[in-house]
Amino acid sequence: MNLTLYVWRQSGPAAAGRLEEYRAKDITADMSFLEMLDVVNEELVRSGREPIAFDHDCREGICGMCSQVINGVPHGSQEKTTVCQLHMRHFHDGDTIYIEPWRAKAFPVIKDLIVDRSSLDRIMQSGGYVSVHTGGVPDGNAVLIPKADADTAMDAAECIGCGACVAACPNGSAMLFVAAKVAHLATLPQGRVEAARRVCVMTEEMLKEGFGNCSNHYECQAACPKGIKVKFIARLNREFIRAQLKGGKDT
């Protein structure tokens, strides 16, 4: 199939960007979306032009590196699918495709489709962990965890940190990302101890990094390639209220 692409090109963080038109020729249904871009890029390189820069690494939908808004939807229109796992059989000959980077103040564009997501790392650094030392921990079975809790924690822990939730959110909020970590750790006895502090500092850091507030639109859930549910945002809100009742982050 042959496609027309409108791709965001921006030479650097300070430069102005614009959509440029490209043709993708002889694309087969078995190709992944990124393999389609590889084909376009290889042609660009051969003709001495700069290829389209985009983030990608594992190409199995788990590393969270790929990040493209395709026709207005982060990771494209397939549910629970990252761009690297999106296949061309979902497109038709003659289609026009818009490809844009994640857009949010907290994700400045570095080049073309590549954005800087270090703000998510800094949120994690603020409190997305259990403060455990290496060594000197009890046996793995010393604290029993109900299967339901372990499963819930795992549901939340599946977040790949790609930032699609932020890209999809009309407010550029990172609530689903933060909620996934807060809920994951608060559900487990090991993470429970620091739950109050964690929810306070992580949400504060979120605001500090320039992310917006949650307006409960749930675009994040629709865009999440791992199907993280907004029930975890409700869980975060509960944890926050609980923390406030106990006296805030210093408890």
């Binding site: 207005g72 949010a104 009309p170 605001l207 320039g210 507030n213 307006s215 865009a223 809100n237």
Partner: protein, 223 residues
């Protein structure tokens, strides 16, 4: 206050203040149904309300505070949200966000403007002094709220303003009922769709309920 320095804290202020106002709106709607019992109904209701002025004024004060908080944080959150998304996509395809949800600030502004008019009209009664209930008691000496309302809604423009305002209120509530419950953490995977649907139905019922008054008057059913 530490809590309002936090994004979730601010949202909680919105949810709690919003919920307080929703409670008021529902009470107001129920109170207004006395209109259907004719002058005796609503005029008696109004007199009863005004007879315990201490309570009335504390309610008004509370509502004013909730309103002020809601407006202040509503604007602030919206500005923050706009700042967090400085550049729009060339194409946007919303898959979950609703028209109501995305336009909360505008329906909110409309409701605010309407509220001002509504207070001037029926509470302070300065827009149409010739039908002011306070200045025109009924046969029993009570402020004649019934006549004031009926005469107001007979004007097509006034009725239209009320219908439009209630549409804005309906849209505002359609998002805000589920949203405030979610923000308060009173939501789960199974309850979310129920609450979302229930919220929309409740919003429609409330808006329709209010709309019946100007419509009934304008159509001549209430006279």
């Amino acid at each position: 206050m530490d809590i309002v320095k936090n994004s979730v804290g601010r949202k909680l202020v919105m949810a709690v203040s919003g919920f307080g106002m929703i409670a008021f709106v529902v009470a107001h709607l129920l109170g207004n149904t006395t209109l259907y019992s004719g002058p005796d109904g609503i005029n008696a209701y109004a007199l009863a309300l005004h007879s315990c002025s201490a309570l009335l004024w504390s309610f008004r004060l509370l509502l004013a505070v909730l309103f002020a908080l809601h407006v202040f944080f509503g604007i602030r959150l919206t500005l923050e949200n706009r700042a967090a998304k400085p550049q729009a996509y060339a194409r946007t395809d919303y898959r979950a966000a609703t028209f109501a949800g995305r336009n909360m600030i505008w329906t909110g502004v409309l409701i605010g403007v309407f509220l001002l008019y509504h207070l001037l009209q029926f509470t302070l009664q300065v827009t149409d002094p010739e039908i002011s209930a306070l200045r025109h008691p009924d046969a029993l000496g009570r402020p004649d709220v019934f006549t004031m309302v009926v005469l107001s809604f007979r004007k097509a423009a006034v009725a239209a303003v009320y219908v439009c305002a209630m549409a804005a209120l309906g849209l505002h509530l359609a998002h805000s009922i589920q949203s405030s419950l979610q923000t308060a953490g009173l939501n789960g995977e199974k309850t979310l769709p129920v609450i979302t649907k229930g919220g929309i139905i409740a919003a429609i019922l409330i808006a329709l309920g209010f709309v019946t008054f100007p419509l009934a008057v304008y159509a001549g059913l209430l006279r």
